[in-house]
Subunit: 198 residues, 2 copies
Amino acid sequence: MNLPPICEAFVLHFGEMGSRWGINRTDGQIYAVLFVSERPLCADEMVERLGISRSNVSMGLKELQSWNLLRQRQIQGDRREFFTTPDDIYAIVRTLVDERKKREIDPTLSVLRELLMQTPGSDKDKHAQARLRDMHELIELLTNWYADVQKLETERLIQLLSLGSKVVKVLELKDRLFTLPGGKAGNLNRVANQNTND
Amino acid sequence: MNLPPICEAFVLHFGEMGSRWGINRTDGQIYAVLFVSERPLCADEMVERLGISRSNVSMGLKELQSWNLLRQRQIQGDRREFFTTPDDIYAIVRTLVDERKKREIDPTLSVLRELLMQTPGSDKDKHAQARLRDMHELIELLTNWYADVQKLETERLIQLLSLGSKVVKVLELKDRLFTLPGGKAGNLNRVANQNTND
DNA sequence: CTGTATTTTCAGGAAAGTCTGAAAATTGGA
DNA sequence: TCCAATTTTCAGACTTTCCTGAAAATACAG
């Protein structure tokens, strides 16, 4: 590997982590090397830096592209293709989550729905369906939350995440305020509900 | 595989998904078969249902136990050990996330912190550090959010997740209400801030 | 302590996944 | 069109991971 020390340490760790998440170690390293690079790289530069074969880089890039994780750039008067990762790390994570959702969560949801439609032929299958219903409900809760939150601008998202569980306190406050008796409170409560039900 | 149709379909899908997440397909199947089972199972029953070797089940159970994913039960007058998954699927997901965090996120954070402490020996390393700082910041944001939200009771958590991005609307409402001029508003604002700053 | 039921370990075979070099395909300039 | 630069493909070598049966270890009843 032909990289300055900090880059190399990161690339190695990232490849290692990738391989624990079902991502080919080398593909993880290719991504990492692009992620820390100050400018777009062509395939031969990755070969040079990672010390792997040209064909391995080619396949890795194809895989990463199929995950929408790369930007491709042409450089003036150069026939080679250059690659980068997006600058915005929030955008990167969104893409990653979107792709994994598309490839793994969505198919799982549809398998679960299909199995829940079937008529159980035994008590065991009946019980299995009850468990599957729980799982389906939870996955739906999480994906709906994600779909909703994903629409927010990064700015707002950060705000929301920073707040964490304190949100619950704000809700308690809201409940407390708007369940007070009296005309004014009733009026405010309508406003509040307008704001919380879409 | 010796399972009723719905169970079998689920077990196969779950094993398949597991293998995409860096979990051994067989271990995923073992988990799945316990998850849908109406009662605790002993190792030989898993052998029978999944059609794999006894030693494979033994290793799978060991692995799943190291992830804290199983409950172990003794049955009156039976020397064999019986296993189940927890009933509460929210608890299951919490455990899963906790373990992955412990094994993958935490070590990554410490690698990042370590690399950010180092003095860069080149411009490339300097730029790499800037990228690593972004990544570190984002991971911290997410893990802090998780650590915070994880403390909530399931009930409250569901409430919060169901709300999704509507939370932002509630916050806007709060801001609108408590930035109005007047003594009463000022007073309420203090209450609100007490409630939102821990 | 002995014997049986049960679980665990582990060497080595099987399967799956990864990597490479050589060759084919593609691209764009002349 | 041809040619050289570049990228892609893919068979087979190599590596890693997984799975098994046999043997060892453990647990416990008698």
